[in-house]
Symmetry: C2
């Protein structure tokens, strides 16, 4: 599967790329810090949702990685931002049953993503063990939809 | 000034310590990730506020560091989580004009903090240049109150 570079433009249909590059920025703290501002649209308040701050510790899957399910969150956006400067992978699609709609992105260790509500995505795909800050939704309602896939797609060998 | 170890208990009056230690946790992603959940109370919706995701790039201040102002945010909580595994400092107080109420904490590179609304704090204090994920408030209203201090307190030599 072709691996694309992660850019705001390429990822726009699925959500935000959370990164310094291209961001509005200004000095704060008496010029001892620079703030790169408003990097993502956090959208979690449907049906009484609140912001949930978490840390996810991910381990790599054995290769070749067979894609066995995709998931989406109908009630809230979901940010993953890496806590180590290491590349990682982001797999999304428009329709889990249509292989032609899948897109695989390689993110740098200084790029996070924010999945829009209802953006189909694979669970975390790390190349090495690593941690991520997760900013998503907690609250009432069913916010997880999973589609198991009988026809697997191996994406990494 | 005495430097305290940053713990949830010691910091409770000022906000949350955002860390894996002591957190509710469970496996997700077919056991390829562990989620340490609900690490902070994000409180930003007063007066139409929204969540603001930013990255702050901080540089160290020249030593000795003279404390010249404290600040607080009346309309929203504010998280700083480090993007490098390096220790940093957190200076807070109950009353900016009362030196006896100041407390200085040393955070690890795997500890963030979430200032409560109205918790007095100093701007970022890093020992080396570093980046932080910031999760705070954007929206209408004046969310910054600063107190300049004529009687400086040198805290690091």
């Amino acid at each position: 599967m072709k691996i694309e570079k992660l850019t705001k433009q390429a990822f726009a249909a699925f959500g935000d790329v959370v990164e310094i590059e291209g961001a509005e920025h200004f000095f704060i703290n008496q010029h001892f810090a620079e703030r790169f501002n408003n990097l993502a649209n956090v959208d979690v308040t449907d049906e009484g949702g609140l912001v949930n701050i978490s840390i996810a510790a991910a381990t790599p899957r054995p290769k070749p990685i067979a894609i066995k399910l995709m998931e989406r969150h109908p009630l809230g956006s979901q940010i993953f931002y890496p806590l180590q400067d290491e590349e990682w992978l982001v797999l999304v699609c428009d329709d889990p049953k249509d292989k032609s709609t899948y897109r695989l992105f390689q993110a740098t260790g200084q790029q996070g993503i924010n999945y829009k509500k209802n953006a189909w995505h694979h669970p975390l795909l790390v190349l090495n063990a690593g941690k991520f800050i997760v900013i998503d939704r907690r609250g009432p309602g069913n916010n997880l939809e999973e589609v198991p896939l009988t026809r697997h797609m191996a994406i990494l060998s």
